[in-house]
């Protein structure tokens, strides 16, 4: 059964929602440095956060991402079942199907793209600690603060399990001990955060001041599952109950994921993932079947149409929302402007790309950096000839896993101006960029495209976008 769960979760991420893996990966930048590690450990839950970011960097490879999700789901299920053994007696374990509930709930919860992997990682560690906490007795007095520091508030799971297992007054003391531990951790490590965020976990969710309903529910359900599975309940027909429970869980998980995985959000993420991998034709194919009616999707589809040389011919066959469906204005989030930044880079506007990529990176609400955005920021600096700044970013990227080789190559490149000049992408952008220095304005973007084309008639992208801009403007005006 565990293998079945693993296979299902693997398939889910591998083929149904691989774009979710891409989104997670591009909103963090794991570095193999001591400072990075120390920075994570400076907050409660830091070890789980560090471990999870180490895993998420591997999402760069889709197969690894799906595999990691599957392994975590299976380990959590096995952990719950194992913990049930210590919560009751090994031979009294019942309701096997219930041990799957936390993993399935987690799958549903992960439908929210802002849920961080540190939540399942922290919960898994917490569940794995249950046998230790049941055994530890008064040692829990130091294990609880240590655990809170390393994995965050989900350390309440093993505390609660050991309390329900022991049912002694000392267990109650340990449960109450969580309160001063929280205040101490808050005062010492998290004083610069809102108390509620510190109470429910600083690094389980990307957005600040938000608490998804399932975040406190899943640890609570996990405790209940562990206790029930270890309760030794004697049922008349255990097999039938297990089958019925399994059916409910499967149906619940299917329904939960259908509700949790917002179709439009994941479609937009899919476009972004495909564009990142230069699979423009696939974007057009997907959009032909279903296209979310929002400017981000319009921007991505139009860009893909251009890359497939179909922008002029098929512009009106897809959803349009005026000129912002061609290039979005600056929007303060970590997703909307990615395609706009990409196309403006190719068109010859590296400074606007720099602005967009900087803002995209700074819009990651938990303050993480992004390998994808930082690479492009470095490139914009290279095109501008600002090699000192570029080197700063390249040195950071050099400490990552998947951007290291690229960073090293580019560091070598900027050491030799001739290499930069010989690079086909950078030399092209330098050749088509604005020759005059003037202040940009989003409202005059079409005029700026016209300037680019007039400067260099090889810049057919500027010409096509200018033409599409005028058509959409007329279309908008004619409505």
């Amino acid at each position: 059964m565990s293998s079945l769960l693993g296979a299902a979760v693997f398939a889910f991420w591998m083929w149904l929602y691989p774009q979710g893996l891409n989104y997670q990966e591009q909103n963090q930048l794991f570095l193999f440095t001591w400072d990075y590690f120390a920075g994570r450990l400076a907050l409660p839950g830091g070890l789980a956060d560090w471990l999870s970011e180490g895993l998420v960097q591997l999402f760069y490879v889709r197969l690894l991402g799906a595999l990691i999700h599957a392994v975590l789901a299976v380990l959590l299920q096995l952990g719950v079942w194992k913990a049930a053994g210590c919560a009751g007696r090994e031979k009294d374990r019942v309701l096997y199907a219930l041990s799957f509930l936390p993993s399935l709930l987690m799958l549903v919860h992960m439908g929210d793209v802002e849920v961080l992997m540190s939540f399942p990682v922290a919960l898994l560690i917490a569940v794995a600690l249950c046998p230790l906490f049941v055994w530890a007795g008064w040692h829990r007095i130091w294990l609880i603060p240590l655990g809170w520091w390393l994995v965050g508030p989900v350390i309440a799971v093993p505390v609660a399990v050991s309390c329900l297992r022991g049912r002694k007054w000392s267990d109650l003391v340990m449960l109450l001990w969580l309160v001063p531990v929280f205040f101490a951790q808050y005062r010492l490590l998290a004083a610069q955060y809102p108390p509620r965020d510190a109470l429910f976990g600083l690094n389980y969710y990307r957005l600040v001041e938000s608490l998804p309903a399932l975040q406190p529910v899943i640890p609570a359900v996990t405790v209940v599952c562990i206790v029930l599975c270890g309760s030794g309940l004697r049922l008349r027909n255990q097999l039938a109950v297990d089958i019925a429970l399994a059916a409910v869980l499967v149906l619940g998980a299917a329904g939960g994921t259908a509700l949790s995985y917002d179709k439009d959000t994941y479609e937009v993420l899919a476009y972004d993932w495909l564009i990142r991998n230069e699979r423009y034709g696939d974007v057009v194919k997907r959009a032909a079947k279903y296209q979310p009616r929002n400017p981000i999707s319009a921007c991505s589809v139009n860009f893909s149409l251009f890359m497939e040389r179909q922008l002029d011919a098929r512009l009106t066959q897809f959803y349009q929302c005026g000129t912002q469906g061609l290039v979005l204005p600056s929007i303060r989030d970590n997703l909307s402007d990615i395609t706009s930044a990409e196309l403006l880079w190719m068109m010859g506007m590296p400074n606007i790309t720099l602005q967009y990529c900087f803002d995209l990176q700074e819009s990651i609400q938990n303050g993480r950096k992004s390998g994808r955005f930082m690479s492009r920021i470095a490139e914009c600096n290279i095109v501008n000839g600002w090699y000192d700044r570029a080197e700063k970013y390249l040195d950071i990227l050099e400490h990552s896993l998947f951007y290291r080789k690229w960073a090293r190559e580019h560091k070598d490149m900027i050491a030799d101006e001739a290499s930069v000049a010989a690079d086909p992408v950078y030399s092209y952008i330098r050749s088509v960029r604005f020759r005059d220095d003037f202040i940009t304005a989003y409202d005059a973007l079409d005029l700026m495209m016209a300037v680019l084309y007039n400067q260099n008639n090889n810049n057919f992208m500027a010409a096509e976008y200018y033409s599409a801009w005028q058509r959409l403007k007329q279309w908008e005006g004619g409505k």
Binding site: P194, E209, N351, Q361, E362, W386, D437, F438, I439, A441
Partner: protein, 482 residues
């Protein structure tokens, strides 16, 4: 035992040095450039790095008035207590640095260099600054920090995580005294925090008669008043490869706030439509208010036509009113712009920025620091401290013998804080960047700029407990108009 170990290491090192050390007549290429700088006694150790490739460094520091200190390792890192002892012993003297570096198994010894230890102590506790990514419209993390300049200790005063979604403005103390300070939060729950002796008020400074909340503020030395400018700030972006951002105000006015009842004194001469009035500062005696004024132009199209003059007016501390206004530096007539006037607290000098145009010199490579002698009215560029990159925000130490300023000289983008001293004749010493434990690593790895730095006489006491609730409760003291 320990001594024996040191002797052994020294002997090995000496043997190694005598065997294969190459002497070169050049000065070592150290980072940061601390060669010939003047430091105050008791400053944090001036640790430095050799260029990449040198895997070991050995440094001997000899004081002109006695004392010696050695450091060895991957970079020059001095013991903090010994460093303090040495600099205090040599106040008014010099420190001679002998530097050896090991690369590819061979030692090199460069020409010795000198660091001057000023006889003017820097008694302030440290400095405050805002750290943020140098960039565009969004910042995931901003914080106001304080740094003990005698050690490497830095701690947050407030970080944006405590007030999510709110942009954090400049921290402004009264002449470096943190018992009275303010800062602004911008955003949905924006407010100006004013703290007197630990008691704090969250104030909405926007009224029906003003165009917004106050932004750039300056305390009157007596502590009752502060002057502030209201600046609806916007940004635009350049297309070329010389610069990226242009920051400008859509409009701006100067107002004066009475902190006894949070009432504003409005002077129509400082709230004109045809001119932009901004960035006020009181003189050391509190009898004069300096501010900037520029003719308004259509922005951003004509942003390069906006050039600020330095103005002043007598200030009546009893009523908060201003006398006759006069022009101090008619910069616009000469085709440039003055920004950030900062009178020294001893009343002797006024430091300001000069740029081609604009009020925001940080993105102007040509922006430099200038100094006005308030006794003679003479002005001059501070060539001793300026660089080819932007020098911008600056402030004085509490005794005005030292000043700090921000500069982009490191890489053209990331702002660092530099410290320099000034003598009675207005001569400044070669500045040094704020010391760090491992400076190259720190400054190269950081993705933050140091904004609006200021000295702080003592440690800033700010209670984080309750701050979140206070910010989001929107319970505000509403400013009124006198």
């Amino acid at each position: 035992m320990r001594r024996l170990l040191y002797l052994t290491v020294a002997a090995i090192l000496a043997a190694a040095c005598s065997g294969s050390t190459t002497f070169v007549e050049e000065l070592p290429d150290i980072y940061p450039d601390y060669i010939g700088v003047t430091i105050p006694a008791g400053i944090a150790p001036m640790n430095f790095n050799l260029p990449d490739g040198y895997d070991r460094v050995f440094v001997k520091v000899t004081g002109s008035k006695g004392g010696e200190l050695k450091a060895r390792g991957r970079w020059a890192s001095f013991d903090i207590r010994k460093w303090h002892r040495l600099t205090e012993q040599n106040a008014g003297g010099t420190l001679l640095f002998t530097v050896l570096g090991k690369k590819d198994g061979r030692w090199t010894q460069w020409r010795d260099f000198i660091m001057y230890v000023s006889d003017a102590p820097l008694t302030d506790y440290g400095m405050t600054y805002r750290k943020m990514a140098p960039g565009y419209t969004t910042y995931s993390r901003i914080g106001i920090y304080q740094r003990d300049i005698h050690t490497f200790d830095e701690e947050p005063i407030i970080e944006s995580t405590l007030a999510p979604g709110q942009c954090m403005g400049c921290h402004t103390a009264n002449a470096t005294d943190p018992s009275q300070f303010m800062f602004h939060l911008r955003g949905q729950h924006g407010a100006t925090l004013v703290q007197h002796d630990g008691v704090r008020d969250w104030v909405t400074t926007k009224t029906d008669s003003t165009i917004g909340n106050v932004a750039y503020c300056y305390w009157h030395p007596e502590g009752r008043w502060f002057a502030g400018s209201i600046n609806p700030v916007r940004q635009s972006f350049w297309t070329g490869d010389r610069r990226t951002i242009e920051v400008f105000d859509l409009a701006s006015d100067v107002v004066i706030m009475d902190t006894r009842d949070y009432s504003l004194v409005l002077d129509p001469r400082l709230m004109t439509e045809d001119y932009l009035e901004s960035t006020p500062a009181f003189s050391a005696d509190g009898r004069t208010l300096y501010y900037l004024r520029a003719k308004a132009f259509d922005v951003p199209a004509q942003v390069d036509s906006i050039k600020y003059d330095l103005m002043k007016a007598p200030f009546d501390a009893a009523t908060g009113t201003l006398g006759e206004i006069e022009t101090v530096i008619p910069a616009s007539e000469e085709g440039y712009s003055v920004t950030f006037p900062r009178p020294s607290y001893d009343g002797r000098w006024l430091m300001y920025n000069k740029a081609d145009f604009s009020i925001f010199p940080i993105d102007h490579k040509e922006a430099d620091l200038w100094l006005m002698d308030l006794q003679t009215g003479e002005t001059r560029p501070l060539d001793e401290v300026n660089s080819p990159y932007s020098e911008s925000f600056h402030n004085w130490s509490s005794d005005s013998r030292w000043f700090l300023f921000s500069s982009r000289r490191a890489d053209g983008l990331y702002v660092q804080v530099y410290i320099s001293s000034i003598d009675a004749d207005g001569h400044c010493t070669k500045p040094f960047v704020l010391p760090q434990k491992n400076p190259r690593k720190y400054y190269h790895d950081t993705l933050y700029s140091f904004n609006v730095p200021d000295f702080t006489k003592s440690k800033v006491r700010f209670r984080t407990r309750g701050t979140y609730r206070e910010v989001f409760s929107d319970e505000r003291v509403q400013a009124t108009v006198k």
